[in-house]
């Protein structure tokens, strides 16, 4: 059965095979090592001329990709850990994302920066963060997060071959070994991907045959796996049914699928792995509050990591990051509040 890692690796092979303009740059990406998380495996053997191993220079390689893109290439950069994006921040914010705009639409910067994100591996404060949080809301930057529900291969192919904007492609480390699609799930999840005309679809998941859902859970990336586990428990243990909405494009965010689900359920839980304050979930709640006529009886909350750096020791890390039980409890609390409101 295919894993997210295999799907991403296949996407890289297919993108490089189908378009000569695709160049791949990163640290330690040559075979036999094939990159720290192995997404690059086999590429340097297959395309020795277009896979460039680089010095440890995240800023320069992101800038080099920008220059390549400005001159007609479609570069892909691998940043070994998402935490190191801080080193490339100026290149993304003040260069890659600005040229098309500030040159009055005369140029394009089609580039993808791929990076593993997130914790739960004990890597500690500087190798476990969800730094995409700091890159949301930058005009001109797409932030796309892969998940195990919606074909990662097509998502990465779209980012590399079909999108002309600079794109940060977020791959949660624990997703690499996740198995894809329906077959690894409890059998009665109904998984719907939004229209394939979108480069970056949103997925909605409900339990097949369930009565009207009582809560909408919006999440992305690896957290979707945990949210589904919690949703299954909520259904089995409490007869609370959730609709789970999983966008792949975090920024700019199309709130419509989340909003539509909220209109049906009246309760919204936004879940992310990054530190909860001022995060993606804050934006989701704001957009729903602004967009819904039901805002008068808006029952909503965010769930994310505690506002702390990520600890290394497993019990500490588990306590800092949101887990299945936390999602379960947060959803229960929301539904209870909603019931009180209704009384």
């Amino acid at each position: 059965m295919t894993t997210v890692l295999q799907a991403l690796n296949e996407a890289m092979h297919e993108a490089m095979a189908s378009d000569e303009r695709v160049l791949f740059l990163g640290e330690d990406i040559l075979d036999p090592y094939g990159g720290a998380f192995k997404v690059a495996q086999g590429l340097s053997t297959q395309f020795p001329d277009r896979v460039l191993t680089t010095p440890i220079s995240e800023a320069a390689i992101t800038g080099i990709a920008t220059g390549l893109a400005l001159r007609g290439m479609r570069p892909v950069v691998e940043i070994m850990f998402g935490d190191f994006l801080s080193l490339a921040f100026d290149q993304l914010l003040n260069h890659a994302c600005k040229f098309r705009w500030m040159y009055n639409d005369q140029v394009r910067v089609p580039m993808v920066v791929r990076t593993p994100m997130g914790g739960r591996r004990g890597y500690g404060p500087t190798h476990s963060q969800c730094t995409e949080k700091h890159l949301l809301g930058i005009p001109g930057l797409r932030v796309v997060a892969v998940n195990s529900l919606c074909d990662p291969k097509q998502l990465l192919l779209n980012a590399i071959l079909r999108d002309d904007e600079p794109t940060l492609f977020v791959e949660h480390k624990l997703l690499y070994l996740s198995r894809l699609g329906q077959s690894s799930r409890p059998p009665r999840f109904e998984i719907t991907c939004s229209d394939s005309v979108f480069l970056y679809p949103a997925v909605s998941v409900r339990i097949a045959g369930a009565p009207k859902a009582g809560v909408t859970i919006a999440t992305y990336g690896y957290m979707a796996d945990l949210v589904l586990d919690a949703a299954w428990r909520l259904a089995m243990e409490q007869e609370i049914f959730a609709e789970v909405i999983v966008p792949t494009c975090l920024s700019p965010l199309d709130i419509a699928p989340i909003l539509r689900s909220f209109e049906r359920t009246g309760a919204l839980l936004a879940v992310e792995e990054g530190a909860v304050s001022l995060g993606w979930g804050s934006e989701v709640l704001s957009l729903v509050a602004e967009g819904s006529p039901k805002v008068g009886r808006f029952v909503a909350r965010r769930l994310g990591a505690r506002d702390l750096p990520i600890p290394s020791s497993r019990p500490l890390e588990n306590a800092a990051l949101p887990g299945v039980q936390d999602i379960f409890d947060a959803a229960m609390q929301l539904v209870t509040r909603q019931e009180k409101n209704a009384v």
Binding site: S57, A59, A65, T66, L70, N94, F99, Y103, P139, Y200
Partner: protein, 309 residues
Amino acid sequence: MSDTTGARLMHEMLRIRLFEERALEEFSRGRLFGTTHTCIGQEADAVGVIGALLRSDIVFSNHRGHGHYLAHGGSMRALAAELMGRSTGASGGLGGSQHLHFPGFYSNGVQGGIVPCAVGMALAEKRRNSGAIITVFLGDGTLGEGVVYESLNIASLWKLPVLFAVENNRYAQTTPVSANFAGDFSLRFKAFGIDVDELDTTDVVVISEAATLAVSSVRERVAPRAILLNTYRFSPHSKGDDFRDPAEIDRFRQFDPIILLRARLSHEEYDRALIVARDEVMGAFAQAEKDAWPDPAALLDARQELLKP
């Protein structure tokens, strides 16, 4: 130096000088947006180095880029219009003084960040065997940025056709080199295996000859090279930030590149160059002033729409 070369170089420098002087005037009248960094005194760098390039070569410039833009063939009217925020500006009024573009010319106002972009462009041109080289302009202050050294390392390692043109005007905004620079300018390049030509002159003819050799070397060897131009700017960094000793500025006036070259031209040659340049500058600003403002609602809505996936 043939007569025609001298007259041409004078014309090139004068059109930059007069443009910059006019820009400062317009700024004082409140008719320009933001700020403006003029290159008065440094014209020989732009004219000498860019004059050695082919039109098909690429120039990546910085915050002090008007001279580079004009020397590489950018439209003066589009530059004036850009400073005045008009729809006909080089960047449609979206970019302003530091963010200029036409095919083969790029600029950005963040110190050092343009250097890896230029190196990436050199990689693109090398891979497609276009024969084009990239010239990126840095200042003494820019050498404080770490990403510059990441870029020098990779440009040398991958043998990329890029010319690093460093204009050392002795000040990073208000801070003299003595207060922000350790060691030696050329050694910073040599440490990465990049050859450097260091010029202690504002003579455009000397710069032009050295640049021609440097450019051929980059093109033929397909490898990076640096040209270090020790120069001086008479104008302030931008506006209202000049705290240099006026006596020091006066001392450097004897090295004004226009004065140096003028001594070698006839009165007629100089006057002709001056008149042509003055007419061009007057025409550019007169036209730009009449140009339409961008339509904010329509433009911003359309651009926001473009950013959606």
